[in-house]
């Protein structure tokens, strides 16, 4: 089942990798079976954001008064292949908390 790893096979692979790494980028991605994506820049999170997000008091409490236990995820998760297929298991249902 397992291939025996010998010093020679390690050397062979390392030599091959060095050769590929020295070739142009387009070829590299194909050889290494890799797909690229780039992340976005991050912001600093320690800020003096008093009144963050909203002004304050009464109005803003709505922001975090929602009860997640009575909520259904309503986002892009509804758009995947399994969510749209009738047999898929991504079908969204409201979660019902079981009473003990």
């Amino acid at each position: 089942m397992n291939k025996t790893i010998t010093a020679a096979s390690l050397a062979l692979a390392l030599g091959a990798a060095m050769t590929v790494a020295a070739t142009p980028a387009a070829a590299q991605n194909k050889m290494s079976d890799k797909e690229h994506c780039y992340g976005v820049a991050l912001k600093g999170k320690n800020d003096c954001k008093a009144g963050a997000g909203t002004t304050c008091a009464g109005t803003s409490m709505r922001d975090h008064q929602g009860n997640a236990w009575s909520m259904v995820p309503k986002g892009t998760c509804e758009k995947t292949l399994s969510s749209t297929s009738p047999t898929g298991h991504g079908q969204l249902k409201e979660f019902k908390e079981k009473k003990a």
Binding site: A41, L42, K43, G44, K45, N46, D47, C48, K49, A50, G51, A52, T55, C56, A57
Partner: protein
């Protein structure tokens, strides 16, 4: 012992911020600042954002710091906390200050965590003898560990405590007397707190010891009302500086003389040019006062 008499023995000669206006350094503006090299007096960072090992934040900060004076402003030390100061955090702060050698270091008269929990807000302290002793011992510890004088910022508050026995200005004056710390006068906080507690902001500034003030903060607030329908101002850092705060700033400058001044904006960060315009507005007032006081001396 001797350290309490001269807590900064062995401290390096610390350069001061230029008597100009500065702005908060935001990652959104890193590249533009390096590319355009705007004319601004200094940049201020929040210490905690740069307590990371490496990567873009240090890459950009080290390049920007080579070109501009720097103020480091802490938001997480919890100087007003009942809990002991977090030694790990103080060590991280010392490392950051060693690395960037800022012209100024400041923190808040507030607490930000309790026990193991960090609450990420600048929370109010009752003003009485016990809290005074605690705050002073924390400031002594900070100044000893960092081997430099720190500036303490007056808070924006929304409630007061029935246990308080001293006015805020009295409390701050006593801290300065006992610890030798400097002050960061946040003019917006003065305005916000005074409106929120039915006081006169001009009286507040008159009651404060002004000699130790080494930096001023200006920012915008949001307007709400309390349960009685009276105004409740929120220190939102999300709006331009209000006219009432500019007026109070001018009054403070007349009493203080010119002091390095920061435009703070942490919410709804606008284009760099908008912040620079506000800094230039502050600088015109600074220079006006400067000229005025030079003429007075001549």
């Amino acid at each position: 012992m001797i350290t309490s008499l001269s807590p900064f023995v062995g401290a390096a000669v610390v350069r001061r911020l230029p008597v100009r206006a500065g702005i908060g350094l935001k990652p959104e503006h890193f590249r533009e600042i390096l590319a355009a090299a705007p004319d601004v007096g200094f940049f201020e960072i929040h210490a905690e954002n740069y307590m990371v090992d490496g990567g873009p934040f240090h890459h950009y900060l080290s390049r920007i710091r080579e070109r501009y004076p720097l103020s480091i402003h802490g938001v997480g030390l919890s100087i007003g906390g009942e809990s002991p100061l977090n030694d790990d955090h103080l060590d991280r702060l010392a490392t950051l200050l060693d690395r960037y050698q800022p012209e100024s270091f400041s923190e808040h008269l507030a607490w930000a965590g309790h026990g193991e929990v960090f609450l990420n807000d600048l929370l109010p302290v009752p003003y009485h003898a016990a809290t005074l002793a605690r705050v002073c011992s924390h400031i002594d510890r900070v100044q000893d560990r960092l081997r430099r004088r720190m500036l303490l910022e007056n808070p924006a508050t929304y409630v007061e405590f029935s246990a308080s026995t001293m006015a805020e200005t009295e409390f701050i004056a006593e801290i300065v007397r006992r610890t030798g710390c400097g002050l960061l006068l946040d003019v917006n906080n003065v305005y916000v707190s005074c409106v929120n507690h039915g006081r006169n902001p001009y009286d507040y500034i008159r009651a404060l010891p002004l000699d130790p003030v080494a930096e001023i903060h200006l920012a915008g607030f949001a307007r709400e009302v309390d349960a009685a329908g009276d105004p409740l101002l929120i220190d939102s850092h999300g709006a331009p500086v209000a006219q009432a705060v500019w007026d109070l700033y001018r009054y403070a400058l007349e009493a203080l003389g010119p002091v390095p001044t920061l435009i703070e904006r942490d919410n709804d960060i606008p284009a760099l040019s908008v912040l620079l315009d506000e800094a230039h507005q502050a600088e015109r007032m600074l220079h006006g006062i400067d000229r005025h006081s030079r003429e007075a001396r001549a």
